[in-house]
Amino acid sequence: MNKEIGLMLFLAAVLVLELPRILKLRSPRDMFAFILLWGLAVAAVIAHWLDWPYLRPLDWVKAVIGLVTG
């Protein structure tokens, strides 16, 4: 649990430090991409924290390959 808390604090710090920089760029695309990736990172940390069983990218790849090869 400690490492997940550490990561959440880190991500909070990243949000606080990077947002002013992105606002100065005056680029909605940059803001969108940052919020999307930041949100994805937060979701991934929370999913790992809660031991979500489907957070295994190699299983997703295996499922797709299974579908394709039949």
Partner: protein
């Protein structure tokens, strides 16, 4: 503003280190499992397949000069389909980076530092990769130039120090099961060098005749190095130990014993793998940033570095769960998945691009 160009020597080092990466640690076991004593022949098959793939990427890059892989994808497939395919490549790079991070963390904690938490090692390497991403590709290229002599010298020490322990009968029988296992093993292994990553950096090579040379030379040199490691694994360790070891190259390093004086040097030789791993994961990090920049049309990508680093870490924790799980994925899934990105899509892009160009010429006439 920093000139974002690299020279041919630096690109050669990128190619060499990307080819070796962590493959040098794990490839011999996989090859030995399928091809048995002919693993060294399978390694040569893999060399030729990789050279063929390098030629494919060079041809694609010459067709669309000055463009990265993501820009080529959008040029050929159009804006929206191009972005979808580009996102698939970004997914591939991200999963690969996380898996490599998990692989190295597992290697160091299982072989060198068993009481160190794997997360500590992964975070440490990620910090260095983040620094590399923040400082830019030119800095990484210069660091690679500084590190490469060490990789080369240590590799040479590894190979030369093991030659007194070679037992040539370990290589027999030759082609006992025919060519099929050899071709299967070689083809499977060729999907683990991920040379397509270098298409992000090929446009950065300072222009001049023979830009293609470092790409082919690096591929050749990297695969020859892998060939020597596979050959030595068979000749020194024998087939059973090679197949059953998780990290045969590390077992080789442990076997070094010259005059009962030069021994227990595996701790120094680990440097080879750490350096090549650092360069490979840094290249993947840069490629991911370049891809996101292209897909989203961003002004800059520096603000994405930290969230991507966290995603790499979470993926590392959720991919390298145990060796049995990863071994099964490598054997049955990853080769097929990689071939989609390394072979099928580039061939499709080349074919589409060729047909579109011919069609435009016909229309102009």
């Amino acid at each position: 503003m920093q000139d974002k160009r690299i020279d041919a020597k630096q690109f050669f080092i990128f190619t060499f280190c990307l080819t070796i990466g962590t493959s040098i640690l794990v490839t011999p076991a996989g090859l030995a499992h399928t091809a048995r004593e002919d693993a060294w022949i399978a390694s040569l098959v893999s060399l030729f397949i990789n050279l063929g793939m390098a030629v494919l990427y060079i041809a694609l890059s010459r067709f669309y000069p000055g463009q990265t892989l993501f820009e080529i994808i959008e040029s050929v497939l159009g804006k929206w389909l191009g972005k979808i395919v580009s996102l698939l490549y970004i997914f591939y790079f991200v999963v690969l980076s996380g898996t490599l991070l998990g692989n190295l963390g597992f290697f160091l904690t299982s072989e060198m530092m068993p009481e160190t938490p794997i997360e500590a090692i992964e975070v440490l390497f990620l910090v260095v990769a983040v620094m590399s991403a923040r400082l830019g590709i030119v800095v990484l290229a210069r660091v690679s130039e500084l590190l490469f002599p060490w990789v080369f010298i240590l590799f040479l020490i590894l190979v030369l120090a093991l030659t007194p322990q070679i037992q040539w009968n370990h290589i027999k029988p030759v082609l006992e099961d025919g060519w099929m296992p050899v071709l299967k093993a070689g083809g499977h292994t060729a999907m683990f060098q991920e040379l397509v990553v270098l298409m992000m950096f090929y446009p950065l090579i300072k222009s001049g005749a023979g830009k293609w040379k470092p790409y082919l030379a690096g591929t050749f040199a990297g695969n020859v190095s892998l060939f020597f490691i596979v050959l030595l694994s068979i000749l020194v360790l024998g087939i059973e130990q090679t197949e059953n070891s998780t990290f045969p190259a590390f077992e080789l390093a442990k076997d070094i014993n010259v005059g009962n004086f030069f021994q227990r040097v595996e701790g120094i030789l680990i440097t080879i793998w750490i350096l090549t791993f650092f360069i490979k994961i840094s290249l993947l990090f840069h490629s991911t940033l370049t891809g996101l920049r292209t897909v989203f049309g961003l002004k800059e990508s520096g603000h994405l570095i930290y969230p991507i680093a966290v995603i790499f870490l979470i993926i590392a924790w959720n991919t390298y769960i145990n060796t049995v799980y990863v071994g099964e994925i490598i054997e049955k899934v990853w080769g097929k998945a990689s071939s989609f990105y390394l072979l099928y899509i580039p061939v499709l892009l080349l074919a589409f691009g060729f047909v579109r160009q011919k069609w435009r010429l016909v229309q102009q006439q």
